[in-house]
Symmetry: C2
Subunit: 363 residues, 2 copies
Amino acid sequence: MARIHNFNPGPAALPLPVLERAAREMIEHAGSGMSIMEHSHRGKVYEAVHNEAIALTKELLGVGNDYDVLFLQGGASLQFAMVPMSFIPDGGSADYILTGGWSEKAHKEAQRVGRGKARVAASTGKDGVYTRIPKQSELNLDPGAAYVHITSNNTLFGTQWHSFPDTGGVPLVADMSSDFMWRPFDVSRFGQIYAGAQKNIGPSGLAVVLVRKTLVEKARADVPNILSYKIHAKENSLYNTPNTFGIYMARNVLAYTKELGGLAEIERRNRAKAGALYAAIDADPDFFRAPVEKESRSTMNVVFRLPSEELEKKFLADATARGLVGLKGHRSTGGIRVSLYNAVTLESTQAVIAFMHEFRTQA
Amino acid sequence: MARIHNFNPGPAALPLPVLERAAREMIEHAGSGMSIMEHSHRGKVYEAVHNEAIALTKELLGVGNDYDVLFLQGGASLQFAMVPMSFIPDGGSADYILTGGWSEKAHKEAQRVGRGKARVAASTGKDGVYTRIPKQSELNLDPGAAYVHITSNNTLFGTQWHSFPDTGGVPLVADMSSDFMWRPFDVSRFGQIYAGAQKNIGPSGLAVVLVRKTLVEKARADVPNILSYKIHAKENSLYNTPNTFGIYMARNVLAYTKELGGLAEIERRNRAKAGALYAAIDADPDFFRAPVEKESRSTMNVVFRLPSEELEKKFLADATARGLVGLKGHRSTGGIRVSLYNAVTLESTQAVIAFMHEFRTQA
């Protein structure tokens, strides 16, 4: 079987050893006579996996018991609705900082939910295009806001918050879908973090949510049970049947992450990958052009353009023929996007750099 | 590797050939150089799987283009909220027929959602215990209701609707989580059907929804985008990243179902399994007691009691030691429950019957 170099923006590459483990355990999980998918979510075998996924999340991030770790369905998109439904009081408001297409979506959903107001506290967009993260001085924050919402990494545009905004006493809420667990960071800066699993920690159909317990306590009670953080926290994410296979896969990815040396080692690898790729781009500014402000560059999604759209088209076709896939930029930005999530190896990154050199020489 | 007899109530047994296929394709899906989990949900490889899952659902059930088939996250529990949020008008109401714990949950969530009223049109419960399906004459239906909601099979109590209620012109909505696809049936009787996948068609973390297009058109617009049937239908269940692996597994189960001969053959097998088990119970009424009214008996979940709780405890322990697992009744009913979903074989059913005879002889 041939594995190719996969730079998909999400769902994205998974570590090969994790897939091999899933294949090995598919028919019979841990001597139990059945697949993990066939286990009751209320049985001991599954519960051990479930609780290990939660424990590993806390351990890798150094999170204590002041946060609940939830594994929910509906991805980040359901969080776009659950956050404002739970936390904006009637007549109150929340602040949204817009840095890309996904923060726009989160903001629009907060407006639709019909609880108070969803204010734009800052936006770096021009005609729907975003090339940077705002500075602290650009934020027009409301000290009375229920929370401040950011998107920590912008998959479409290739920008990333490298230091998080100071929100005073207002809880900071972050959609970390595309850069969760890429490095160690101080969770205590956040009231809530949520992330679709399908970039760095597992398959799609799963969202991990970290939420400060004191915030959960203040959540509105007038929401459907299935959308209640309080209920999901109280029931340890077993209020309804969770995505058991997705959580099993996340457990395996997290266990593998720990085995590799934890988040400090993951950060070292990610910086090596992104550093090498940006260096290749910067070394040849007449041919490769990074549209994003240098200080805002993402370590997860490296976006660049070639001198013409024709060349970009040829680049993508030639890359695919060479077994380098998932490099097409988002339709809103065009160009090339190389997603370097945790499971993308340095070898794959070097393969794309070698191809860039070769393509440049021939062009 | 040893596979055991799995009678779990859900997540439940999956067909062995389907698990074998998943193991085989885990590292590389269909010559694409990556797992199905690593494919973009907007790429051709995944989209073929997605659309085949939808087409197979329609084909197996004989459904035409007047219904949308959606694959959503959040299981049946999210449908408990989405149905009333979408369809009960301000000041209007919907009718709920209560036949077990899950229909109670659906009804309570409809009340919490805060759109109009959720009326109880019938209930066969006494002190939270349900032993039968109501007759048509017992239904106190409101001709002005937005819809009538039923739970077609009651996993906890082992009862099942064998013929569906006549609701006049009012759309019938059914939670079919635990008996979807167990036999052919006339979908055109229903405005909407929804089912968590984890009993008959796949792993947990996935719900299949069939909804009449004319009903979708009438859905309320004032819901969050992520809870909008209109948006999910328009986007072919790709508005947000779906549970791609779950849908892949459902596709495989549905393809296998077709290979076996479709739903007529599945019904024949299910009737043979349930028939044999109920016959074993009825043959020995002094020892085995089915608490459920005969005409309401479920073909999916066969519930019975032994003469004492001590014997039930011993029965369950001895069964587990013999590789017969998942037989414990729900905590609200006690006793024994044998779930005979589609993937449970006649051989497994015969194994449990043989064990019952043996246990009876020794007791």
